[in-house]
Symmetry: D2
Subunit: 121 residues, 4 copies
């Protein structure tokens, strides 16, 4: 699979099939999946704890580290997709809606180059 050819639905179906084959849907309540997403996010964090922000931009140059980091990222997204499966969520639609929402909260002219929260723009 590659990003330029893979529709979200294909990944959702693969992730769902993986869980079903193992009879794991019984464990995949939204509550439990929210914990799994957070636990995997914690593992991603760990790679960057003591690293300077600027240095983290060069992480893709270290093949061994980036491979591990990509695995953590995949874990997060796999659980997020399974969360979408278990809550009848169309992820693309939800993302599109959230991005319009964000665009309204952060209009380009006000938000450009600023990291402030929208309430402080």
């Amino acid at each position: 699979m590659k990003d330029n050819e893979t529709r979200l639905l294909e990944i959702k179906e693969r992730v769902l099939a993986f869980a079903r084959e193992r009879d794991w849907e019984q464990f995949h309540s939204p509550k439990n999946l929210s914990m799994a997403i957070a636990a995997e996010s914690g593992e991603l964090l760990e790679h960057f704890l003591w690293m300077e922000s600027a240095d983290s931009r060069k992480i893709a140059n270290d093949p061994e580290k980036i491979a591990k980091i990509r695995e953590e990222l995949a874990d997060i997204v796999i659980y997020a997709i399974e969360f979408a499966n278990m809550t009848d969520t169309d992820l693309a639609e939800t993302i599109e809606k959230k991005m319009s929402h964000n665009a309204a909260k952060y209009p380009v002219d006000k938000a450009r180059g600023r990291s402030d929260k929208y309430t402080e723009l």
Copy 2:
């Protein structure tokens, strides 16, 4: 956008364009994005803190709650996708690789119906 028609690359490009228009790539180091993913995961968790696991399965029946929960999920995935953008990660490829890896760690016959870690199967 809908899951059955949207390729991951399209979402990556939209997310990247959103950040570029606002000159936000300067804030989007992998370190900072790993924090953003974890912070949004924490917000998703909050919806389920005191809820029974079984009750969380019915969350999609509450239109107001599920709308908020889907927003949190979208935030997580948007930041995960921006993380992929900033680390030259092909997400579909990474997910496929991770799932083969998981399939080897959790063979169907051993893992069926069990939530144990692969080291304890």
Copy 3:
């Protein structure tokens, strides 16, 4: 050390001495420590991902598991205490203030037996 004899200041001083001996204060910015706290919280979560809430109440009966879980808890508190060190925070005072605040938001008569957020009481 035991809870009935140990003042918070003693732990703060030990934790600070540990970092100073290793010249680690250079890494212990509040930003980095907030990440460390979250990463350790993720490790604590992992122990409970697929466990029923009711079953988690019996965890102290499993000597091996509870020992690991207590280590994760210690990690969280150690980093939280170092965060207090690095931000000149009197933790006991802060906790007392937060608890009065919480008592006002969750008056006993309204909050008894309910897990709702204060905004919904």
Copy 4:
């Protein structure tokens, strides 16, 4: 309460009394508390997302921000203490044990000035 006069047991007892008065122990399973700790850690993270590590060291100079940050820290520690309550954990003892453990993994002569994981020292 102040750090130089407050024993951990006092805080544990206050936190427990707070929950008991509200009949909240029914919600405070270790599983649920692990989620609450992680959710509060996420809120602490949020304050530092886009901030440079060096700038975060000056956060105590901003009275409004540091007050909010201390509240988040208090939330984390309060839930960690309640977790100790609900799992019969002597927190001071656990912290002491974990620090000896850490001292063995990170001997001063090897670890000084280095942020590497003990497996890489």
